[in-house]
């Protein structure tokens, strides 16, 4: 097929009429789980400790069920394992099991006292890559509303643990007051919905009978693909235009030959998973700011403001939007709020692209869907869940290994979308429900802005299968991920520019 394309491209223009290739329409049904209230309704008066309480209340039944099943009948030296209600109820020498939240006490974690010392000394220490202390001063503790219990034992070295994940441990308390672990259990993957389940349910409510209408079933095509890209890193400089233009031409079907364009017609949606903009304005530290003489006119410093990145992103999106629907997640460098869940990027940033947004007051997602980070929704019936990379990058700092896929797998098995929030990851103080608790297992879990492309499939205890995708940064690798929506297989398309000159 590619050979035909090569011949087709390197020839004189002909008068042949080529048929127009249509793009497959996308079947899209997003969830609004991470939308926060707007304006006055968003309160920050509440305490962050409520998040831990809510997470524990939600996940404790699940983990206790698994633990009771596993340890209910165990007898060691004539003694059976007893379940204990609260963490502080464990008794010395008695074999028991208890469920609670993990807390990692690490001296190298960012500390509010560092900020205070910055006022007195010259500068703060640079941010660390890992919080693990080399001398083994880290302690793992189990916590619930009654108190904390220090954990020791061999299972801790093998398994990955971060602050905020819920687990059940079995063991006994020793003379020092530490709890020696023999075994531990996590909630594992939750229930996974069937493909097209949400559409079927709404069809049931609509039609009253069990089947969705013929018209809706006809809308489900075969052979669709979804493109996922992340870390475009637009910063308005000259350097990023060429690969970005190549990506644009590829998605529009203007590049390559006829057969490749047919394949590109199968791509029904583009998902941009964060970090589309690298910082356009330089961020000065407090000392540098006091030295600079800034003239503030109209409330902002016009010398420092650089509109080029957002304009370039807007042009990129507006060129693609007439042809392909786009879902845009904000990332760490994007103009959205700092704390998770990041709210959708404001349409004021996209003067040209917002014409493709839904009208105010309509419930249908528009052609251009600017969504929250993290995000979950149904694309072609499969439940997809993804984020811009911040939770995984934070978990990376807690553990010794480098395997991002292991961290993603553990995130799903712990059922926490962002376990380290609110400890080291900024987040909104939820009061009614911890939105990051994963209640329904997705079919695809993608994380953006990772160093390399990796993918695997994990399996759950009741037959759930999840495709994990670590999407690399486009700015550095030029790779874009194509996900086949029938088989959930993944392939990548690499865009590179020859640098021989």
């Amino acid at each position: 097929m590619a050979d035909q394309d090569v011949d087709a491209l390197l020839q004189a223009p002909s008068n042949e009429e080529y048929p127009t290739i249509d793009r497959i329409p996308s079947s899209y049904n997003p969830l609004h789980s991470f939308d926060l209230a707007k304006g006055d309704q968003k309160h920050y008066q509440q305490q962050y400790g409520d998040i831990y309480f809510l997470r524990l209340a939600k996940l404790k039944p699940a983990v206790e069920e698994i633990a009771a099943e596993a340890w209910g009948e165990i007898e060691t030296a004539g003694e059976s394992v007893r379940r204990v209600d609260r963490v502080l109820d464990v008794r010395q020498g008695e074999l028991c099991w208890v469920a609670g939240t993990v807390y990692m006490d690490m001296p190298l974690k960012p500390n509010i006292l560092d900020d205070i010392s910055k006022d007195h000394w010259i500068s703060a220490p640079p941010p660390r890559e890992k919080y693990i202390s080399p001398s083994g001063q880290d302690q793992t503790m189990l916590e619930d509303e009654s108190g904390r219990l220090r954990l020791i034992g061999t299972p801790l070295q093998i398994s990955m643990l971060v602050t905020g994940c819920i687990m059940a441990v079995m063991g006994t308390e020793n003379a020092n007051g530490d709890f020696e672990i023999i075994d531990m259990k996590v909630p594992d993957l939750p229930r996974q919905p069937q493909r097209w389940e949400r559409d079927e349910v709404s069809a049931v409510l609509a039609n009253g009978n069990g089947k969705s209408s013929k018209k809706e079933q006809k809308g489900r095509r075969e052979g669709t693909k979804v493109a996922i890209v992340s870390g475009l890193g637009i910063n308005g400089d000259e350097g990023d235009t060429l690969t970005l233009d190549l990506l644009m031409e590829y998605l529009l079907g203007e590049a390559c030959g006829q057969s490749t364009q047919q394949e590109i017609g199968n791509i029904s949606r583009l998902i941009i998973a964060g970090n589309s903009i690298r910082e356009g304005t330089p961020l000065y530290s407090r000392d540098e700011l006091s030295d600079k003489k800034t003239s503030k006119k109209y409330g902002y410093d016009s010398a420092a403001y650089n509109p080029a990145p957002t304009q370039r992103l807007d042009d990129f999106l507006a060129t693609l939007l007439p042809s392909i629907p786009i879902t845009l997640l904000p990332g760490e460098g994007d103009p959205a709020n700092v704390s998770l869940p990041q709210q959708p990027i404001h349409p004021a940033m996209f003067p040209r692209s917002r014409n493709y947004s839904p009208m105010a007051g309509s419930t249908e997602p528009g052609w251009f869907d600017s969504v929250t980070n993290p995000w979950e929704g149904d694309v072609e019936g499969w439940r997809m869940m993804g984020n811009g990379g911040q939770p995984i990058d934070d978990v990376f700092k807690y553990v010794e290994g480098e395997e991002r896929l292991d961290m993603m797998e553990n995130l799903l098995r712990w059922r926490c979308g962002a376990p380290t929030a609110p400890d080291t990851l900024w987040c909104y103080p939820f009061q009614d429900k911890d939105q990051f608790v994963i209640e329904e297992c997705p079919h695809v879990y993608f994380v953006g802005s990772q160093p390399t492309f990796e993918t695997t499939v994990i399996e759950g205890p009741t037959g759930q299968t999840v495709r994990l995708i670590a999407v690399p940064k486009f700015k550095e690798t030029g790779e874009m991920v194509l996900l086949d929506m029938d088989t959930l297989e993944v392939e990548i398309v690499i865009f590179k520019v020859f640098n021989d000159l």
Binding site: D50, P61, S202, A206, D432
Partner: protein
């Protein structure tokens, strides 16, 4: 300089057109919507959003509503979803109704049960009513959460399935019915927080 006279100024002010925002305004900009229930308003909002090009515009609200209702069948999906929301509201108030019906004797029996669990009597609680004692005991039960107002905390614990005792809700409703606004937060909270903090 001749002294300025006030009367011509008043005359010229009257000559200008004035804007009237109060009840004297005789300009009708929007027809007033009779606010019967929240659900009715929702229906109207949805009708307004779905485009219907054949309805005439300057008709008064009631006949317009009747026409629109006749022409656009209510989307079943929105109907189903709205009904689910209504059911949930009904649930919440069902619990409150049940709590209102709980007699005083049951509350006293509950409290006696709690006191019998302890060997020694509680100290420094001589001046408090039974209601206040029950509420303080609920404050200290950290398995239902901490540091948010009591009613919210009870409802949240109920929603999470932690089964908080319904007698506490009965006491809270009685205090609310009696107009006692201080029952929402513990007495200590009132002493410790600053007066400028926004109450939830």
């Amino acid at each position: 300089m001749p002294s300025t006279r006030r009367k011509p100024a008043a005359q010229s002010a009257r000559a200008q057109q004035t804007l009237a925002f109060g009840p004297n305004s005789n300009k009708v900009t929007k027809p007033s919507i009779p606010s019967t229930s929240k659900k009715v308003d929702k229906i109207k909002l949805e009708k307004a959003v779905t485009p219907e090009f054949s309805t005439p515009s300057p008709a008064p609200e009631d006949s317009q509503e009747a026409e629109v209702q006749a022409q656009i069948p209510e989307s079943p999906r929105t109907l189903a979803i709205r009904n689910q929301g209504g059911a949930k509201q009904a649930d919440g108030s069902a619990v409150e109704e049940k709590a209102k019906k709980i007699p005083e004797t049951q509350i006293r029996k509950y409290w006696k049960g709690k006191e019998d669990e302890r060997i020694a009597p509680r100290v420094h609680q001589q001046g408090l009513s039974v209601n206040e004692k029950i509420l303080r005991h609920f404050d200290l039960s950290s398995q239902y959460g901490v540091s948010i107002p009591r009613m919210k905390r009870w409802k949240r614990a109920d929603g999470l399935g932690l089964k908080p005792p319904i007698e506490v809700l009965a006491v809270l409703m009685r205090e609310e019915g009696r107009g006692n606004g201080t029952a929402e937060r513990a007495f200590m909270d009132g002493l410790l927080t600053s007066r400028l903090a926004v109450n939830e």
